[in-house]
């Protein structure tokens, strides 16, 4: 019943966290700092993975499209929809779980084992709120932008790869990505992204906050943060898709 213990403690952790800040200015400073970390800090890796992801999706779609009756514009439609619905929100969140989740867990875990969290508590600061709330809000604020940028870059990557390889004409691809566009797909992607942002920050913070021992355990927490947030992202991806798209 180990997972029940964690579920219960995670719940208590959440409850303790959502309280009124002692001092808004301190929280605001943290929020701005995290926005920078999460936003600028992840743009590079997100851009790189998005462009390649779009390229691979496009080339694979063309490769699988053997029926000559299907117009080449279908490639653009398929690539666009898979990028918007699945790859940008979910895969980018997995990438961010690796990057941001591990850094949250190791930052908070280090603060735990070096008694910095105790030092905050001594000053009457609700340490879980102070350390985690700004991260949650920053992630919820910035992740949607990151994912939308990823969508554009993914679709752009597909265009570059497809036209560079000469397997699809620029006109076909661009006509495809404009064809039968469903705006709700973007909304759905944002809903997923917000859920994942919350999961990554809270699960990783939880792992860090309850680190016991020393440097070795900090590494362990950081690994756990990535593993558990990734698993939860995939589970919630399935649940949300089932709930909203069917």
């Amino acid at each position: 019943m180990n997972w029940l213990f964690h579920l219960g403690r995670y719940w208590v952790f959440m409850k303790e966290m959502f309280t009124r800040p002692e001092k808004y200015s301190l929280y605001w400073k943290q929020f701005i700092r995290e926005l920078n970390n999460f936003g600028w800090g992840s743009l590079g890796i997100v851009a790189l993975t998005s462009v390649f992801m779009g390229a691979v999706i496009t080339i694979q779609t063309i490769y699988n499209l053997v029926n000559p009756l299907v117009p080449m514009t279908a490639v653009g439609i398929v690539a666009r929809d898979s990028i918007i619905l699945e790859f940008s929100p979910t895969m980018m969140s997995l990438v961010l779980a690796g990057k941001i989740g591990s850094s949250i867990a190791s930052e908070i875990g280090t603060m735990r084992v070096s008694e910095q969290i105790d030092a905050l508590e001594i000053m009457g600061i609700n340490s879980s709120a102070y350390l985690v709330l700004p991260k949650i809000f920053a992630a919820i604020f910035i992740f949607p932008f990151v994912v939308i940028i990823s969508m554009f870059l993914g679709i752009f990557g597909g265009w570059v790869a497809g036209t560079a390889a000469g397997v699809i004409s620029s006109t076909d691809y661009i006509m495809g990505i404009q064809d039968s566009f469903v705006p709700f797909n973007i909304t759905f992607a944002i809903i997923k992204t917000l859920t994942f942002a919350y999961l990554i920050t809270t699960v990783s913070a939880y792992q860090g906050y309850y680190t016991g021992g020393g440097a070795l355990e900090v590494g362990q927490s950081s690994t756990n943060a990535v593993v558990y947030s990734s698993i939860l992202i995939l589970i919630f991806d399935y649940v949300l898709t089932q709930l909203i798209l069917t």
């Binding site: 002692e22 001092k23 200015s25 301190l26 700092r33 280090t110 603060m111 070096s114 008694e115 910095q116 105790d118 030092a119 508590e121 001594i122 000053m123 009457g124 600061i125 609700n126």
Partner: protein
């Protein structure tokens, strides 16, 4: 003055502190000594409310501290400063920001006022021209000084120091000990210091409490400690051959 009345604390059924009662005087450095694992840190964390006691009372100058909620302890917070064993400086902030942090938390002072206080505290611990350094750039002794400056920034009435000289060379240790003693007397603070360092005991100890297996084993002054017949205490303080030799003469 801080009074402890029969405090006990255990973890997972294992008793760590049992029935400790004592009092710590204002304007003095009160030492808590004992071997590694004897419960010094747990006792200090109970006193400042980082760990809740299982039973017993903690009283700050007549005001009940144990059993209060986070909110009810608010008024005590500004009066408590603590120097943690490793310094516990905030890694993401530089020296100046570390010392300023409690001021931002507790006061509505302007940046200039806060800076003035920060610089005063840093000068007080003999640390100048280091304002912009980050904790990772500091030596062990400098970290402790910053930690002390941060602890006294809000002019606390109570100062807790958990092994402030662990990991320091003997000369630096004595400097830190004396600094704490001076500050204690200068501002009339109730200071409680955990240590297992005999140098500190002889140098700054006004009152000494010896913890052994989570119990108050002995209590007294520096003069008393050199003449004590208490077996465990003697084993602890005169552990080395050198010290045993001194004791004989």
């Amino acid at each position: 003055m801080i009074e402890l009345k029969n405090i006990s604390k255990g973890f997972n059924g294992r008793s760590i502190l049992s029935n400790v009662s004592t009092s710590f005087e204002k304007g003095h450095v009160n030492l808590v000594i004992g071997g590694s694992g004897s419960g010094k840190t747990v006792m200090m964390k109970c006193m400042v409310g980082l760990v809740e006691v299982d039973s017993g009372e903690i009283i700050y100058d007549g005001k009940q501290f144990s059993g209060l909620s986070r909110k009810e302890r608010k008024p005590f917070r500004q009066e408590i400063g603590m120097v943690f064993q490793g310094g516990a400086l905030f890694d993401s902030l530089n020296v100046e920001q570390n010392v300023m942090f409690p001021l931002s938390m507790f006061t509505n002072q302007t940046l200039e006022e806060k800076l003035e206080r920060v610089n005063f505290c840093l000068r007080r611990v003999n640390l100048v021209n280091s304002n912009k350094l980050s904790p990772s750039e500091l030596s062990g002794g400098m970290k402790k000084r910053v930690a002390i400056a941060r602890a006294i920034a809000t002019k606390p009435d109570y100062l807790f120091c958990d092994e402030p000289n662990s990991g320091l060379d003997p000369r630096t240790s004595i400097v830190i000990d004396n600094l704490l003693k001076e500050i204690t007397e200068e501002y009339n603070i109730t200071t409680i210091m955990n240590t297992h360092d005999m140098n500190s005991v002889l140098e700054v100890g006004d009152k000494i409490l010896f913890l052994h297996q989570g119990k108050k084993w002995w209590e007294g002054t520096v003069e008393d400690i050199l003449r004590t017949e208490n077996q465990e205490l003697n084993d602890f303080i005169f552990a080395s051959k050198l010290a045993k030799g001194i004791k004989k003469h």
